[in-house]
């Protein structure tokens, strides 16, 4: 009985010793997470005001970013979404920093990997954002030029240009995220190359007669020139 009690006491003692060792770490983790949470909230509030002052929502409306969000079924204000994303990013980072205070090697490695991945995520988002705006500008420029040239399928052409650019931008963003880069590049090459080849073939086949006429006209002009030289 005595031995049995001793065993229980030893186990409890071990737990106590372990808790004594780990308690400061847990306390540090909770403090970091709480502090991070408060900081994230303050930052979200400041960012909201800043974006409101910048009239970010109105800018997003004009740039068509809001329209994309609506198509995706998101009905919050663009500024609100940005502020929420930043809030959650800060919260996740503070949770990770908090967890690292536990000094558990596996978690520390995981956190390092996630933190190293963040710049990729950020640059992918930037590529998507600016790529979308650029695609919009180029498609609009194509539309205006084609309409002014009297091209019948101006809208279709502009949409094709927009589609091609969107495919390009998506491929760039996925590559940045390291999502199966080999497959992405291969798929992009196949799709993009296929479209270009299809366009080249259709243009080539459709333009056979025109090309023949141009060549015949050119050769006839040369013959005519020769005749004059003889005279």
């Amino acid at each position: 009985m005595k031995i049995f009690l001793q065993l229980i006491l030893d186990a409890l003692k071990d737990v106590y010793v372990y808790f004594k060792q780990v308690a400061p770490n847990i306390l540090a983790m909770l403090t970091i997470i709480l502090f991070g949470f408060l900081l994230a909230r303050i930052f979200r509030s400041l960012l909201r005001r800043f974006l409101r002052a910048l009239k970010f929502d109105a800018w997003s409306d004009r740039m068509g970013i809001t329209a994309i969000m609506r198509k995706g079924g998101v009905w919050s204000k663009p500024g609100e979404i940005i502020a929420s994303i930043i809030f959650w990013l800060l919260l996740i980072v503070s949770i990770m920093v908090g967890l690292s205070a536990l000094k558990i090697p596996t978690i520390a490695n995981l956190i390092n990997e996630v933190i190293l991945y963040l710049p990729n995520l950020f640059s992918a988002l930037l590529i998507l954002l600016f790529g979308y705006i650029l695609a919009g500008f180029i498609a609009r420029a194509v539309l205006i030029t084609a309409v002014n040239s009297g091209y019948q399928y101006a809208k279709l052409l502009a949409e094709i240009v927009r589609l091609l650019l969107t495919v390009l931008i998506l491929a760039m963003a996925l590559e940045q995220l390291n999502v199966a880069p080999g497959i992405v590049i291969a798929a992009f090459s196949i799709i993009f190359g296929g479209i270009i080849m299809a366009l080249a073939i259709s243009f080539g086949v459709g333009g056979i007669d025109s090309a023949r006429k141009m060549l015949e006209k050119d050769s006839a002009a040369k013959d005519e020139k020769k005749d004059i030289e003889h005279i």
């Binding site: 009239k55 929502d57 109105a58 409306d61 004009r62 329209a67 609506r70 204000k77």
Partner: protein, 402 residues
């Protein structure tokens, strides 16, 4: 209407003999293949609990030429919106409901506001304007017809006659306004009978012929809420969101189109709908509010045409109007007598007194601020300010209707 007199500078299409509804409908079905028609219905949820809406829906189930029906629902909760969806379900044409109090449409209104587009307070004007945007965005209809949802005597012939002059390519009007008489055991339509007509006649007396006043005087029922137009009119017109909606819309049509392409059509033998209280002592509601808004809209339109107004002019106008309106009462008394209708001369005189007060208040407000309430911007400007707005609206409405 029994006469065939053409008055004013627009065309009047009378009801002569007994026109066949079947023939008109058959023609419209053919014409609508090339000129699809959208019907816009601005409605409050309370109207679905009233006596008119069931009859309107029943009649609309028989209409075959409509491409789409856009119901703009105001003052309705989510649950009530779903009830309205069920209510409209028997109609075979495609029905889309714009839920003004829904989260998504609320966000659309926020989008207008943060981009500096003032679309006014809730009401028929704003609802109609929103529906026009939706129809333009969908791009499925070339013609838009609109009527109120409180018509107790509704018959699909009203809609058929309203649409025919715009949809028929050989008649080819760009804007058509409905007219009718509003009689039960007495005459209704006090604002048209005792305010609009005497007022425009008084302005003619004081100022001589004025283009817009002649145009307005050509309409037999300028305040009727039923009209039909080509979609382009909805795209370029700026409309007031208050009670000046009807007069303001006519002013825009006058400004943008030749009167040769504008007509009015006799759509019903009789028409009965909700009656507004006179509210003679409260300028914020009832017919007094309506009077002020309508008068301001007329003054503003005339000023934009180059008329100069002074305190002296308004003093003369109020006196001239009062005399005209009193003469008009005598005319209607005789009209009522020959037709065996009740006629309360005292009530009519009280209405004229209230209208005179409203006219003076409108004049004061106009002198103080001639710009008055801003008009809702036209859709061309809205699209220019927010290029994706039509897609956003479609997304909002489609999502709500899912």
């Amino acid at each position: 209407m029994s006469d065939f007199h053409q008055n004013g500078i627009i065309t009047t299409l009378h009801r002569l003999g007994k026109p066949s509804l079947q023939r008109l409908e058959a023609e419209l079905v053919e014409y609508a293949k090339f000129r699809p028609v959208a019907l816009v219905l601005p409605a409050l949820y309370s109207e679905f609990e009233g006596p008119a809406m069931a009859g309107i829906v029943e009649e609309l189930t028989k209409v075959k030429f409509l491409k789409e029906i856009i119901l703009v629902l105001d003052k309705a909760s989510e649950k009530e919106f779903r009830k309205v969806q069920e209510f409209m379900a028997p109609i075979s044409s495609e029905v889309k409901i714009i839920h003004n109090d829904g989260k998504r449409i609320g966000e659309i209104f926020d989008t207008f506001s943060r981009n500096g587009l003032e679309v006014g307070l809730r009401g028929k004007g704003r609802s109609a304007w929103l529906a026009y945007g939706y129809v333009i965005g969908r791009g499925q209809s070339d013609v838009i017809a609109l009527h109120d949802c409180d018509i107790v005597t509704y018959n699909r012939e009203m809609l058929v006659r309203l649409c025919y002059p715009v949809v028929n390519p050989s008649v080819d009007y760009v804007f058509c306004k409905g007219f009718y008489s509003r009689i039960t055991d007495r005459m209704h339509g006090r604002v048209t009978r005792l305010l609009i007509t005497p007022l425009i006649r008084s302005i003619q007396t004081l100022r001589g012929p004025l283009g817009f006043i002649n145009f307005l005087d050509s309409f037999r029922y300028p305040l009727s809420g039923e009209f039909c137009m080509i979609t382009d009119v909805a795209r370029v017109n700026r409309i007031p969101w208050d009670w000046g909606l009807e007069v303001g819309s006519l002013a825009e049509v006058y400004r943008n189109y030749s009167p040769r392409r504008v007509c009015q059509v006799d759509i019903a033998e009789n028409y009965e709908h909700k009656h507004q209280a006179l509210s003679e002592h409260d300028p914020e509601k009832g017919l007094l509010k309506m009077t002020i808004d309508i008068c301001k809209s007329i003054f503003r339109t005339l000023a934009s045409e180059g008329s100069v107004f002074s305190q002296g002019f308004f003093r003369s106008l109020s006196v001239a109007y009062l005399r005209q309106a009193e003469d008009t009462i005598v005319r209607y008394e005789a009209d009522a007598a020959i037709n065996g209708l009740e006629f309360d001369r005292h009530e009519e005189a009280k209405a004229v007194e209230a209208f005179t007060r409203g006219l003076i208040m409108a004049a004061e407000a106009f002198i103080e601020n001639p710009m008055g309430t801003p008009l809702i911007p036209n859709w061309n400007r809205v699209i220019s300010a927010i290029p994706g707005i039509l897609e956003m609206m479609q997304e909002a409405v489609d999502e709500d209707n899912r």
